[in-house]
C-alpha cells in the first residue's frame, strides 16, 4: 500500500457511488493487547461483505491521516485513522491505517464484487 493521496482516493470512491457495492470495515488492536499489557483492553470489530449503496463519499484529513465517510440511504459508514491505500488487481479499493510498526489498526475496503470469504 502507499500513503493516501487524497485527490486520487476521492476520485476512486466516487466510482462506487449509487450502485450496489461490498464493504469490509474493520478496527482492531490485536488479540494480544491485554496479554502484553494488563491495563489494555482488547477491542475490535469487523464486517465483511456488507452489501450497501452510498450516495455520497468523502475523504477528509491532513498530515497523512484521514477520515472517510460514506453516506447511505439509511445511515453512514465511517472510518478514522486511514493512512494508506491501494487498488488490487481485482479492482478493489483498500484503505487502511497502520501504526508505526506497520500493524493494521483500521481498514475500509470497497469492491464491486464480494471480497473472498
Amino acid at each position: 500500500m502507499k500513503p493516501v493521496n487524497i485527490t486520487e482516493v476521492q476520485t476512486v470512491l466516487e466510482q462506487y457511488m449509487n450502485k450496489t457495492v461490498y464493504v469490509h470495515l474493520e478496527t482492531t488492536n490485536g488479540a494480544y493487547a491485554s496479554h502484553v499489557n494488563q491495563n489494555a483492553y482488547n477491542v475490535g470489530a469487523f464486517i465483511r461483505n456488507a452489501e450497501v449503496k452510498f450516495t455520497n463519499a468523502k475523504i477528509v484529513g491532513s498530515n497523512g491521516t484521514y477520515r472517510v465517510g460514506l453516506k447511505l440511504e439509511m445511515g453512514w459508514i465511517y472510518a478514522e485513522g486511514i493512512t494508506d491505500w491501494t487498488i488490487t488487481d481485482d479492482d478493489q479499493l483498500l484503505l487502511a491505517g497502520h501504526d508505526r510498526e506497520g500493524r493494521l489498526m483500521v481498514a475500509l475496503q470497497v469492491s464491486n464484487h464480494p471480497f473472498r470469504y
Partner: protein
C-alpha cells in the same frame, strides 16, 4: 522426554502457532523418523501484522501467510492440512461440527499423539476454541484408538492455576530449526518479536533472545473422564 510415537498430529489455528509453540518438539519427532502432520485451522487472515515495512494488506495476507506456512512446514519437514476456517471466528462455529471435521483427519491418520492448545489457557479465542474442538474430537474416538493428547497453556497464570506441566521439553538443541521455522513467517515475525528485536540485530543475538523465551515447550497430558 520425547518417546517413540507412531504419528503425531499438531492442531493449532494459525500459521506461526506451530513454529512458536511446538517446532522444537516436532523437530525431535522428525529426527526419530516419526511422521508429523499439522492441521492448521485458519490462514490468519485477520492478523494485524502486515510486515514492517508492510509487505501485505488485508486481501493479500492469507495468500502470503499460506506461503509462509508451507515454508515453515517444509523447514520442519512435516505434512500440513489446512482446515479452511476464518481467523477470529472459530469460537462462533458449532463446536461439534468442528470436532467432527477434525475427527475425520484423526480417523484417517490414526495418530498416537495429538498436540493442541489448552482451552481457556491459550490467550487467543481461536486458540481456546480449536483446542476445545480438538479435545472433543479425540474424546469421541474409541478408547483403543484414542491418541494421547498434549495440551499447551500459554496464559501468564497457567503455572499457578494448572500446576506443573506433565511434559517440560527443553528444545535448546533444536533452537536453530525452531528459529528458522519462526523466521519463515516474515509478515508476522517483526510484529511478534518487536518487543525484543531491534532493527539490524545480529542473527545470533536474536537467536539468544528467542531461545530465552521459547526454549521450553510445555504440555499437560489431557485426562479424559470415563
Amino acid at each position: 522426554m520425547i518417546l517413540m510415537e507412531k504419528h503425531v498430529v499438531v492442531i493449532y489455528p494459525h500459521p506461526d502457532d506451530e513454529s512458536f509453540g511446538a517446532a522444537g518438539s516436532v523437530t525431535q519427532f522428525r529426527n526419530k523418523g516419526i511422521p508429523v502432520t499439522y492441521l492448521c485451522g485458519t490462514l490468519g487472515e485477520m492478523g494485524r501484522n502486515m510486515g514492517n515495512p508492510t509487505i501485505a494488506n488485508r486481501e493479500t495476507l492469507p495468500k502470503i501467510r499460506k506461503q509462509e506456512l508451507l515454508a515453515a512446514c517444509n523447514v520442519l519437514d512435516m505434512e500440513v492440512e489446512m482446515l479452511g476456517y476464518h481467523d477470529k471466528t472459530l469460537e462462533f462455529e458449532d463446536r461439534n461440527t468442528v470436532a467432527l471435521h477434525i475427527k475425520e483427519y484423526l480417523d484417517k491418520i490414526e495418530p498416537s499423539l495429538v498436540i493442541t492448545f489448552y482451552p481457556d489457557y491459550a490467550v487467543h479465542p481461536d486458540h481456546n476454541a480449536l483446542g476445545a474442538a480438538a479435545i472433543e474430537a479425540v474424546g469421541m474416538m474409541d478408547i483403543e484408538k484414542r491418541p494421547v493428547l498434549w495440551a499447551q497453556a500459554i496464559t501468564h497464570d497457567f503455572h499457578e492455576v494448572l500446576g506443573k506441566p506433565d511434559i517440560i521439553n527443553d528444545v535448546s538443541a533444536e533452537m536453530d530449526k525452531k528459529l528458522e521455522a519462526i523466521l519463515c513467517h516474515k509478515s508476522q515475525v517483526q510484529g511478534l518479536l518487536s518487543q525484543f528485536m531491534q532493527p539490524g540485530m545480529e542473527q545470533d543475538v536474536l537467536k539468544q533472545e528467542v531461545a530465552k523465551r521459547f526454549s521450553l515447550e510445555q504440555f499437560y497430558i489431557w485426562k479424559f473422564d470415563e
